[in-house]
Structure formats: C-alpha cells, structure tokens
Assembly symmetry: C2
Homo-oligomer: 189 residues x 2
C-alpha cells in the first residue's frame, strides 16, 4: 500500500534489500488525512518532513492581507516541508495542509538524522531528490522572470494538466502569483 509507494521510490534511486527497506519504513509514521487538514503550522518549530503517498499537499503562507499564498504543491512521491526551517530546526515560515484526502508518511528531524546515520545510502537518495528539486526551483524562477501571467498559466497547464484539474482555481492562482479574478479572465479566452 502506502509504504510501497515510498520503498519503490527509494528503490528507483538506491538499491536496498527487502529487510533494509522494511527497516527504513519503520522510521516513518503513516497516516491518512481529510481534506484541508494542517500537518505543519507556521511559527511552530519545523520538526517534520512529509512524503506524499497519495493525495496532494500544499506549502503556503499568509500574506499581509490575511490571504493564503501557495508556494509549492506536492503530489504522489513528492517530499515537502519548510526545508530551511527543518534543517536548522527553526520556526516554520509556512503551513503544510492537505488539498484533498491524502496519505502521508512523516518523519521527525531526529528520526531523519538517525535514518541517515543508520542507512548512509539514504544520503544519496535525498541528495538526488534535492538536487533535482533545487534545479526545478531555479527553472521556476526563470519562468517567473520571463513569462507574463497569461503565459505562466498556459505553460503550467501544458506541463501539469492533472494539477489544473485537481487543484481549486484560487489555489492555483496564488501558486502562479496572480489573482483568481485575472486567472478567470485568462481562461475565458
């Protein structure tokens, strides 16, 4: 089930025996969440790293006007948390919340350290994940600085059509950095 999503994902990067994999899994808590449940609270110490086995999470913050703004989505096989706050065990700058019914594997900071110590090959797994994620973030910043809001939407819909279906439009708008009203206008064309 959900455990297998993670073990298969790990196995696609690093070779582990069945016993090792089941030992690795024991470092995680597995839980299902309803829609709109908070998994991580801004301002609180960021102590947990999340892996989405099923469903969809968002990383967001509340702006000056009290509106939530989505910075990152995570769907099946994606990792999510406030990575900067997590690494330095500081208060989180973001909330993490489910966008739909989701099954999530969670690991605390101390368990994460233990896991990496006991299974150094996991360093390679996470190194690959973060190397890709950082590269993708740089590409995203490139898009932000080169596309109009209209182009942003079409380019995003082109690359991730499933997202556009699954995610409420006002959440998508805030992720793309435009207002729901303007997104609505764009779609009309």
């Amino acid at each position: 089930m959900s455990e297998q999503i993670l073990t298969e994902h790990i196995s696609s990067y690093v070779n582990f025996s069945e016993e090792e994999l089941s030992e690795i899994i024991r470092f995680f808590d597995i839980r299902s969440y309803r829609k709109k449940e908070k998994l991580l609270h801004a301002e609180k110490r960021c102590d947990t790293l999340f892996f989405v086995a099923k469903g969809c999470l968002q990383l967001y913050f509340i702006d000056d006007l009290g509106n939530p703004k989505t910075t990152q989505f995570a769907m099946e096989t994606w990792w999510l948390t406030d990575f900067l706050a997590f690494q330095y065990q500081r208060p989180s700058n973001f909330y993490v919340e489910t966008l739909e019914k989701s099954t999530v594997l969670s690991i605390s900071f101390s368990k994460y350290q233990e896991l990496l110590e006991k299974f150094p090959k996991m360093e390679k797994y996470y190194r690959s994940i973060f190397e890709t994620a950082y590269g993708a973030a740089l590409m995203r910043i490139k898009y932000i600085n080169s596309l109009s809001k209209e182009e942003m939407f079409f380019s995003f819909r082109n690359s991730f059509p499933e997202f556009v279906q699954r995610v409420p439009q006002y959440v998508l708008a805030s992720f793309l950095g435009l207002t729901p009203e303007y997104l609505s206008e764009i779609k009309r064309k």
Copy 2:
C-alpha cells in the same frame, strides 16, 4: 589557497582525513577567470558543476527581447550550474559567467559520479548543500510572491549588503525582477 576554500567547506559538513581531502581535490579543475568570461553555454550539454573559491558567478538566460536575466548569483563557497540539466545531462537552459575576476573549481559530470562513488560521505555534503539551497529557493519564491519590487530591493539589500556593492546595478535589477530604471527610482528615495 583556493583548494583550501573547498576542503574547509567540505570539512564543515563531513569529517575527512587530510589524505582523503587531497584526493577529493584531485577530482576538480582549478582555474582563474577574467571578468565576464563564460563558463557554461546555454543550449550546450550541461557537463560541469562549479564551486566559487573567489569572486562571483551568475546563472542567467537571454529573454525574448535579447536581454540577459540573472536567475542566481554564486559567491565564495557557493555551488552553481543548471542543476536540472546537469543531473540529466541535457542541454543547459542557462549561461554561467563571471561577474568579476574569479577562481573556480570545476568538476565534470562523470568525475562527480566517480567522486560520489569513491567517497560516499560526499553524498552527505551535497545533500546538505542542496537541501539548504532548495529551502532557500522556496523562501525566495515566497518573497517574490509577497513583496513589492521596492520591498524586494530593501529586503535583499538588508540580507546581502555586500552583493549590492559588488554587483552592477542592472544585473541586480534583473535578479530582483525589475527594470534598471525602476531600481534607480527606488534608490533615489
């Protein structure tokens, strides 16, 4: 000298013996560059990862109108390349160029793989680097989506005053996602 900048940086994350460190250093090419030299060319296969020992690099692309736009800077002890293209050995989406006289340690993709295989502890080093870099990129996207261009400038100058001194203003403007004219107007106040 320059080698030491890297070995000291590695040592602040992982413990290696002196012999190991000097073996690690042999995986890299060390070279000095003049101002405005290109180290990586867009469209060409991205085969090299750069470490800045001295000076300053920029990652940039050319927009529709032919203007260079800076996506990322790298100063002393920062790593830089088009990480997504590097990992998958695809054509680069960016140029890498010196902003000033710089000393850079370079490693090819295949040497990088060899290095990680021969010294698995380097996985931990790069995992930490990329985890932080990805976290910082998410924070940067948060800023982009919550601050006005004016606030972006003051917040950036506040966090990285040296950058604002060292980097030409039109490069800083393109990094912050605004026009040099508007940046000039902001500074007047």
